[in-house]
């Protein structure tokens, strides 16, 4: 496991050096995971495929921002894919402000992927989620893994929108307390 992790970390570093062979190998090793991410969030095969393409373009261009050792390379890659898929979802939703601008700006961002941490916290969040009521924990997972909005979560759980907001915010406060305890 850890040798696979360090292999991927190496491949990202070599991708930053414009090593196309390394990039190809990185794709071979990680594209199934990242397609799993874009497909689960976008729920449409063609869109997920197009997103995957954009994600690897970003990975090539941003590989230099990945800091080996400090972060799990898989988490970093998943963050790139997940953030891109969420950007696509957000851009698709009807809004009266300038979507294109927001979408463009979302790109060079404050480097969200940087914060994808190593695995030593793994498992802890599951324990903390288990302390929430099942359907509230499901809401947190649904937002993270499926990209559900408050609206969608409210519909899925059959509660009013405001109730869902309150539920989830309370859950996040409790989650933070548990994670920092």
């Amino acid at each position: 496991m850890s040798s696979a992790v360090s292999e991927i970390s190496d491949l990202i570093a070599r991708t930053a050096l414009r090593d196309r062979q390394a990039f190809r190998e990185l794709y071979r090793l990680t594209s199934a995971k990242l397609f799993g991410v874009t497909f689960r969030i976008l729920k449409d095969r063609a869109e997920a495929e197009e997103a995957l393409q954009e994600v690897y373009v970003k990975i090539w261009r941003r590989a230099d921002r990945y800091v080996a050792g400090a972060y799990s390379p898989i988490s970093w890659l998943v963050a790139v894919a997940r953030n891109h898929a969420l950007d696509v979802l957000r851009a698709r939703r009807p809004r009266n402000d300038d979507l294109d601008a927001a979408y463009d700006i979302a790109d060079p961002g404050p480097d969200p992927e940087r914060a994808a941490l190593a695995g030593d916290e793994r498992g802890r969040i599951e324990g903390c989620l288990d302390q929430l009521e099942t359907d509230k924990a499901d809401c947190v997972r649904g937002a993270y893994l499926d990209g559900y909005t408050y609206d969608e979560l409210a519909q899925r759980h059959g509660v009013p929108l405001n109730t869902m907001r309150t539920w989830l915010r309370r859950s996040l406060i409790r989650l933070r307390e548990c994670l920092t305890a």
Binding site: R20, A115, Y144
Partner: protein, 243 residues
Amino acid sequence: MSVNGDSDSGDASGGDSTLVAEYVLGLLDAAEHERVRRRIAAEPEMAAEFRFWQSRLSSLDEGFAESPAPAGVLERVEGRLFPDAAAARRGGWWDSVALWRGLAAGSVAVAVAAIGFALMQPRPLDPDVFATQLVAALQAQEGSGVEFVALYNSATGEVRLTALSGQAIPNRDYELWYIRGDEPAVSMGVIPVDQRTEIELGPEAQAKFEPGTVLAVTLEQKGGSPTGVAQGPIVAVGTATPI
């Protein structure tokens, strides 16, 4: 709505903390998302909350099941990133600008200091008035503590390299590379960290050495990478800038 005072999980920071959690979960609409993104970029407390949530929630990544990617995606990615020279009207140049923009921005302060440093070296410059001089500050990556300044003089075709910090590592060597656009890194040879080095560039390398060319140092096995392709981690990197 600026700073939220003390850290801890008191009520006051609960609001911002929850807001950042919603941001990481992707629950905010486009306008709100953008607003929070800017705050994270500007406010250290928000940035800390962001790192907290992003790192903890990333433990859920295991919930994403693998699913084989459709055929042809990699080919399309490569077609976009590495277009043939003929087809590449808008090819590598913009790509490389976008790619290295962040690095270059970060290097400016060091580069300015480096210019002063480089000019202090008592070496007479070639009087050729049209000589181009480029400086690159190679900043440490991944906490390597390895930093170099490189000064290139087109009149002599020579790169002078000075280590600002860094330690020799037993049985390993540092290797210098130049990277132009999306082309693969080209080795400039193994370099010592405890003395100044002068590297004479061949005609081909001279032609490619220009503002925007990136210099990178990797840690390789003794004697340098045997394959001509960097294998070790990048320990320092910087972009050549005209003096």
